[in-house]
Symmetry: C2
Subunit: 300 residues, 2 copies
Amino acid sequence: MNARRGRDPSAFVFAPLPAIEQLLERSTRVRGTPGALADAVRYSLIGGGKRLRPLLAWHCARAVGGSGRDAAPALIAVEYVHAFSLVHDDLPAIDNDDLRRGRPTLHIHAGEAMAILAGDAMLNKAFVVLARATLPPALVTLLMEELAGATSAMIAGQVYDTLGGLPDDLPTIRKLRVIHLNKTGALLRAACRMGALCAIGPKPRDKRLAAITRYADAIGLMFQVVDDLIDVQQSSEHTGKRTHKDADKGKLTYPGVLGIEASQGEIERLHLKATRAVRELGAPAEPLRILADLMATRTR
Amino acid sequence: MNARRGRDPSAFVFAPLPAIEQLLERSTRVRGTPGALADAVRYSLIGGGKRLRPLLAWHCARAVGGSGRDAAPALIAVEYVHAFSLVHDDLPAIDNDDLRRGRPTLHIHAGEAMAILAGDAMLNKAFVVLARATLPPALVTLLMEELAGATSAMIAGQVYDTLGGLPDDLPTIRKLRVIHLNKTGALLRAACRMGALCAIGPKPRDKRLAAITRYADAIGLMFQVVDDLIDVQQSSEHTGKRTHKDADKGKLTYPGVLGIEASQGEIERLHLKATRAVRELGAPAEPLRILADLMATRTR
């Protein structure tokens, strides 16, 4: 359709962004919500996010033969869970961050009580979206199980990362993997699988879903290794959030445990794994391969 | 079966408590959860609660012709949402309570970060329980919608109560009703309706469900009017939580707005309404009538 899209692969990958923004924007217009709560939710959800999870859900639906819009309930729900997790993780009692996407975090902007309640509302909203989706109930139930399972894992990862609790005799690199796979990997995995399920229907043993899952597992871990490197190598100005905070807080990171070079090697390995996983899905999976390329080389 | 049960009506109503405690206890045993997080969840969920919502779900299932155990997924899920709301509402940034059920609140016991994360985990767990219930998917979807809708309302009610935001020109008594119906009423309503749905199946227009809903709406509001009166009239020692805190915080209450006598009149009116609502369900609804009696006259 557009000649330029053919030349710049990333334009093709990001083409769904306006549609995704519109879906998210519409999801925030709900009658009966207190105005200040709706404002807090919009502040957290709209404007500024990379929309990685919605893009993954969209392109995973396409990669298995559906349309991107099939993934609408999945991508909205996953982005609400992501936004909830950022708001609560930023709270003074947890990561105590005051900057996010170049703006004050929600508790700085709207107060701590509102940040707690808006986070709760966003987590719950994810399930409202799925429960009210016009999809076969068996599919809704599967999507719910994916999302709730991933959210459990994400919270467990945050507990391990912030408060500890992993067995002392577990090798450091394995601790790190457990934290990363739970804290970031589980929701990225859910985004991919839920997007694919929306197109496939309630068939959890579908072969295409297995390929999507292998892809998701690889990019899920890769995402966090890259994040750790960005935290070490980039400035706050560049990323729009505080950097060097992992080291400041004594958190486990890939460059901290393996060194920068080995971390880069790990990224290459996972990148290759992701690309191979979706090869069998052919041309419709092209955006997923490009997304993996972009995720491997991102600097913010 | 037991002659004594026939004589003491409350014994009959509370007979399911051991089964309910066992269901809740079992639900907390999950592999892969960080130990400290599991401890925090158990601290909040096990031991001390009146189990009003689980009892309502149980007896509503029986009142519509099912068995109490039919309501198991509903009553577990609702009690997790209730426990989550107490933990987050008690946080320093919201109600700043240090006493709950005669024990230190979770953020006093386990720290604020853990209280935030354990609350999140409990809200999410409610949906895990429903998603994994061995029930027809159409029923699971209905239960999800009930629970997520009630949780939305509950959070909205807490925002109105703590942070304000209702239109200034709304009469005070109507403000109070909006706050109470959302903050407490919605989840009590969900407990009743979800319990009944578990026995009826995915038939949201069933007449018996309509009767249960009228009952639930009446006791939902009555519960909070009674709560307001207890806060005014009872001591902390008696209730196991701080009292007189509504007035201290300038919160709207029924006795504050209507006076004590009119509040008692409102309780009588709602009590009668609840009793009438389930009359058509006959003998199996007897425990619901007794529960309404007990809720109308409770002092803690």
